[in-house]
């Protein structure tokens, strides 16, 4: 094994000119899907001294007093009433910017950043305060209004994948962050174990563990002998990328993903895996469906 400086394939984030248009279409699409599933949820209803904004699916651990029993009786699914005060909940987006996120074409960091911006836009639309955490408890960006999306894009454009500080390192710092109804972890989740993130679970807090892997990490091509170089440490290993070896590799990866799925399920969190060449809209819409 040898160590050396690693030249990452995609260390930086660059938003394509079409990104804003795609983001707009995503917001419109998610809104229409929500209307179809919830009906006229955005109707302004007076009551309770708080502005009624609509409904959202009930999350495990929530106060049953917010449950709309009528809707439960009518639809058979639990929904809670969302007031303006509650809509101003906090979303926490934790983004892994370690060197391993610079792997893949497009890079994992690129997709994670695009999803982070999409979450910012979705959160702002839901009148939530969205904070982006990359290096610790201090947020890199905070989004409360629509123009925050531009600031997020600029901040993420300046970001560069590097170092070995992934979400496993970030998690203890995030433990000091209070509140937050939805916590999104965007990264390859390769530097940590499920418990490191899932211990951040709290009543009324939804954890969504979004794993992004490069296509060559998910299903490597049969290239023969390959020198695999660790993106963070520079450690190199010579391994055969043959059909037999690739099968064993994919089994090992599947076992790892299954372990994370099981752990997340036990903690009533979401763990899902995408490749970095997935359109961010697909990933965001999937999260929206999960969030309701």
């Amino acid at each position: 094994m040898r160590r050396r400086a690693v030249e990452l394939p995609s260390p930086r984030v660059a938003f394509a000119p079409s990104f804003r248009a795609r983001l707009g279409r995503l917001l419109a699409l998610s809104a229409s899907r929500r209307e179809r599933s919830e009906g006229a949820g955005r109707a302004r209803l007076a009551g309770g001294g708080a502005e009624f904004l609509g409904y959202r699916p009930y999350r495990y651990g929530e106060d049953l007093r917010a449950l709309d029993w009528n809707l439960l009786a009518r639809l058979g699914r639990p929904y809670v009433r969302v007031s303006a005060r509650e809509a101003s909940e906090r979303w926490v987006v934790a983004l892994d910017a370690s060197a391993s996120m610079g792997v893949g074409r497009p890079g994992k960091l690129q997709l994670a950043a695009e999803v982070a911006v999409a979450l910012c836009a979705l959160g702002v639309r839901e009148r939530a305060t969205v904070t982006l955490h990359v290096h610790g408890a201090e947020p890199l960006c905070v989004g409360r209004r629509a123009p925050a999306v531009e600031a997020w894009m600029q901040a993420l454009t300046r970001l560069e994948a590097g170092g070995a500080q992934g979400l496993g390192t970030l998690a203890p710092a995030l433990a000091r962050v209070r509140g937050g109804g939805r916590w999104f972890f965007l990264g390859d989740l390769l530097d940590c174990e499920p418990e490191q993130l899932l211990r951040l679970s709290r009543p009324g807090r939804e954890l969504l563990l979004v794993r992004v892997l490069a296509r060559d990490e998910m299903s490597p091509a049969p290239l023969g002998a390959v020198r695999w170089i660790d993106a963070e440490s520079g450690t190199a290993l010579a391994r055969e990328a043959s059909a037999d070896t690739l099968g064993r590799y994919e089994r090992l990866l599947a076992e790892r993903l299954a372990r994370w799925d099981a752990a997340a399920l036990r903690a009533r969190a979401l763990h899902a895996c995408w490749t970095s060449d997935t359109p961010f809209e697909t990933l965001a819409l999937s999260l929206c469906a999960r969030m309701g």
């Binding site: 170089i229 660790d230 993106a231 440490s233 590799y249």
Partner: protein, 422 residues
């Protein structure tokens, strides 16, 4: 290598082509690199064959291609067994005329011959191969064949001879060693001429004095001792009286000392052959005189020896008998009895005087004026290289080259086929 010669050693660089190809293959065949975040998973898998066996393993086609290149390079180099090339014919023709014995420069201890020889030998040392020999030739000397670096003995190189007939020796591989460039066109021989300024000194004898030449003027200088003519007579057998009287008169007239013991400045030895004289009376003569007498036998002249049979007679049985033999510095006489010559007495005296004058050697310090003249500039001109005459083994060389080239082609074709199938 001691057992191998190369016909084209300049092509040795081509031997690097094979290793260079392998190096190139190794560089190009390095496994591709891929940056990943899942190294922990790969670490759990078995190591690749290339990594386990090391990087020294080359594909067979590459090894064959390198072998083909090496064979081709060998064919180009042209290996030959040592000795397959016949040694070249080298000759050194030495001018031993007296001018070569003069000092190269007024204060220099070395002679012109030594200087010219040193230059020629230096060139030979840098040109000849270890197993080659040199044939040394000089007029009046038996040729010598010596190994590279060897020099004829000093007596062989004594400067008491004559200038060679240069045209006879104008051939490739021949070095002329002299002090000045010979007249005439030199075509193939090399020239190693010492050159040198004029050397003043004695140029002739005038009785007991020397004729001294210096700065274009001549002067007589008395010699410390008069030059001597030595008579060698067997015990109890004197020279015939006629000859003894003639010899004494000639020495008196020339100012030479007539001695019978060794003298420091001997010009001539006149030796009477030991007897006994034959009983048969012989009749002989030359230059207008005739006489009768009895003579002992002179040994036949050895092959290669200098000497002239000056007087002969025919015995009654018809066999020729040599009576007087002469060479520079010595006259051998077989006549033990000599009657009064018939005919003009002056003819007899003049004939013998010519013999004695012509046989005298010059003292070492007396060198003719032409020899003492300036020899010009020093010149070193290499000869044309002699051709080799290959022997039977050398004739195999082109066949060996062709065989190597054919093998290289076949191996290259095999390497190409393997590469195409890979």
């Amino acid at each position: 290598m001691a057992w191998l010669d190369l016909a084209r050693p300049a092509a040795a660089w081509a031997l690097l082509l094979g290793p260079a190809l392998l190096l190139l293959v190794r560089v190009l065949a390095r496994p591709p690199e891929a940056v990943t975040g899942t190294l922990a998973l790969w670490r759990a898998l078995p190591e690749a064959r290339a990594g386990r066996a090391g990087h020294a393993r080359f594909p067979l086609w590459a090894l064959l291609a390198a072998l083909a290149l090496t064979l081709g390079a060998l064919a180009w180099l042209g290996p030959r067994p040592r000795g397959a090339r016949a040694p070249r014919a080298w000759s050194v023709v030495v001018d031993r005329s007296p001018s070569l014995g003069l000092a190269y420069a007024p204060a220099a201890p070395e002679t012109r011959l030594a200087r010219a020889l040193a230059a020629a030998e230096a060139w030979l040392a840098g040109t000849l191969e270890p197993d080659e020999t040199v044939r040394w030739v000089s007029p009046g000397r038996a040729p010598l064949v010596l190994a590279r670096g060897a020099r004829p003995p000093e007596e062989w190189l004594a400067c008491d001879g004559a200038e060679p007939d240069w045209d006879v020796f104008d051939a490739p591989g021949t070095l002329w060693v002299t002090d000045r460039e010979p007249p005439g066109a030199r075509r193939a021989a090399g020239l190693f001429a010492s050159g040198g300024p004029a050397v003043p000194g004695a140029i002739a004898l005038e009785g007991a004095a020397s004729v001294w030449w210096e700065e274009g003027r001549l002067a007589l200088r008395a010699r410390p001792v008069p030059p001597a003519v030595r008579v060698l007579e067997p015990a109890g057998e004197p020279l015939p009286e006629v000859l003894a009287r003639l010899l004494g008169a000639w020495c008196d007239a020339r100012g030479f000392a007539l001695v019978r013991a060794p003298a420091p400045d001997e010009l001539l030895e006149l030796a009477l052959a030991p007897g006994p004289a034959a009983a048969e009376s012989l009749r002989f003569g030359r230059d207008g005189w005739r006489a009768t007498g009895r003579a002992a036998a002179l040994a036949p002249l050895a092959a290669g020896s200098a000497g002239e049979d000056w007087l002969q007679a025919v015995a009654a049985d018809g066999t020729p008998r040599v009576l007087v033999r002469a060479r520079t510095g010595r006259v051998d006489v077989a006549l033990h009895e000599l009657g009064t010559p018939e005919g003009d007495p002056a003819a007899f005296a003049l004939s013998w005087t010519r013999l004695l004058e012509g046989s005298c050697r010059l003292p070492a310090d007396v060198v003719p004026l032409a020899e003492r003249a300036a020899a010009g500039e020093e010149r070193h001109l290499a000869p044309a290289l002699p051709a080799r005459h290959p022997d039977a083994r050398a004739a195999l060389g082109p066949a060996l080259d062709a065989g190597l080239a054919l093998a290289a082609g076949l191996v290259a074709a095999l390497a190409f086929l393997l590469r195409a199938r890979a």
